[in-house]
C-alpha cells in the first residue's frame, strides 16, 4: 500500500467508525437562527486564555473584556458560573447559551452574577433601560 492508498484507506475507516454524528450536523444547520441584526456587536478586546501559556495549575479564572464605543463588559468566568461588570449601561443582561437563555438584572454597582451556567458556550445580550442593545460574541466560559 503506497502513501496515497494508505491515506485513502484511513479516510474510509474514519467514514465508517467516526462519522460526524447527525445531531452535530443538525445543530450546525440550526446555528443560522442565532444570527441577530438589531444589536451592536461588542468587540472582544481581551481574553486571558488567548495569550497565557496552556499549562497552569490552581485557580484559572477566564477573564474576557468586550467593548463598544459606549459600553464595556468585563467577564470573569470560573468553573460553573460567571460574573460580569457592565460599564455604560443599566438594565438587564440576557445570558444566551445553546441550551436556553436566562435574564439577569444589572446591579446598581454594575455587576451581573450568574452562579450557574447551563452550558459553557455563552454570549451576553445587554438590554439597556435606554433602549441600547449590545451583543457580545460567543465565548467559552
Amino acid at each position: 500500500m503506497d502513501d496515497d492508498e494508505l491515506v485513502e484507506r484511513l479516510r474510509s475507516i474514519a467514514n465508517r467508525v467516526d462519522p460526524v454524528p447527525e445531531w452535530v450536523d443538525s445543530a450546525a444547520r440550526a446555528a443560522l437562527t442565532t444570527r441577530r441584526m438589531d444589536e451592536e456587536l461588542a468587540e472582544l478586546v481581551h481574553d486571558s486564555w488567548e495569550s497565557a501559556q496552556l499549562v497552569r495549575s490552581g485557580d484559572d479564572t477566564h477573564v474576557l473584556a468586550f467593548e463598544t464605543d459606549a459600553v464595556s463588559v468585563d467577564v470573569q468566568a470560573e468553573a460553573g458560573g460567571l460574573r460580569a461588570l457592565v460599564g455604560g449601561a443599566s438594565g438587564e443582561v440576557v445570558v444566551e447559551t445553546p441550551v436556553g437563555e436566562r435574564r439577569v438584572g444589572i446591579g446598581e454597582d454594575g455587576w451581573v452574577v450568574v452562579p450557574e451556567l447551563p452550558h459553557p458556550t455563552v454570549r451576553l445580550r445587554l438590554v439597556g433601560d435606554d433602549g441600547r442593545a449590545v451583543l457580545t460574541p460567543w465565548f467559552t466560559a
Binding site: V7, D18, V24, A31, R35, W49, G58, T140
Partner: protein
C-alpha cells in the same frame, strides 16, 4: 461542486437556509477532524464544531476572503479546541466532573465494522505523536482539505506537509504492526 463560498456566504447572510446548509455540509467534516486531532471526546468535538459555526454566523456578511473560508473555520476550530482544553484543566483543578478529553477514542464497534488490519491502523492513529496525529486526522477528512488549508490550520509551511506526511505514515505503519 455547487456554488462557490462567496455566493453561499452572501445568500446565508440574507437568511438563505439552504445556502447555509451547503456550507455546513461542506466543512463540518473538516472541523470534526481538527477537533479529533486534539483527541477531544465526542461531546467536546461537538462543542468545537458548533462554536465554530456560531462564530461564522457572527461574521456573516463580513467575511473578507471567502476563498480562505476553510482555513478560517479550521483555525477558529483550533482556537476553540485550545479553549476547551483550558477549560478542562480548570475543571480538573476545581475537582469537578472528569473532563471529556483524552483517551476517549471514538466509540468503536469496529470489531463488527473493520477487518483486523484496518482496526490496527485506526488504533495506531490515536497512538501517533501529537503533530502527526493532527496532520493525519486532517488528511482523513472527507472531502480532504488542500495542502494550503492544512498549512494554515497547523501553522506550518506548505512545503513541509509532503515530507511530514511521509514520515507520519511510516510511523503509522510501524505502530499498526505492533498492535
Amino acid at each position: 461542486m455547487g456554488e462557490d463560498n462567496a455566493t453561499l456566504l452572501s445568500a446565508a447572510a440574507q437568511g438563505d437556509q439552504a445556502a447555509w446548509n451547503e456550507l455546513v455540509a461542506r466543512y463540518t467534516p473538516l472541523l470534526w477532524s481538527v477537533a479529533r486531532g486534539f483527541r477531544l471526546g465526542t461531546a467536546d468535538c461537538a462543542d468545537v464544531v458548533q462554536n465554530t459555526w456560531l462564530k461564522l454566523v457572527e461574521k456573516l456578511g463580513t467575511v473578507a476572503e471567502p476563498d480562505r473560508l476553510a482555513a478560517w473555520l479550521a483555525t477558529t476550530a483550533r482556537r476553540e479546541c485550545l479553549q476547551l482544553l483550558r477549560r478542562a484543566q480548570r475543571r480538573r483543578a476545581a475537582d469537578e466532573e472528569p473532563p471529556d478529553v483524552a483517551d476517549d477514542a471514538p466509540p468503536l464497534d469496529e470489531g463488527l465494522l473493520l477487518a483486523e488490519r484496518d482496526h490496527a491502523l485506526w488504533r495506531a492513529v490515536d497512538r501517533l505523536p501529537e503533530a502527526c496525529r493532527r496532520l493525519i486526522r486532517l488528511l482523513m477528512a472527507d472531502p480532504p482539505p488542500s495542502y494550503a488549508e492544512i498549512a494554515q490550520v497547523l501553522d506550518i509551511a506548505v512545503g513541509s506537509i509532503g515530507p511530514s506526511r511521509g514520515r507520519c505514515l511510516d510511523r503509522l505503519r510501524k505502530l499498526a504492526e505492533e498492535v
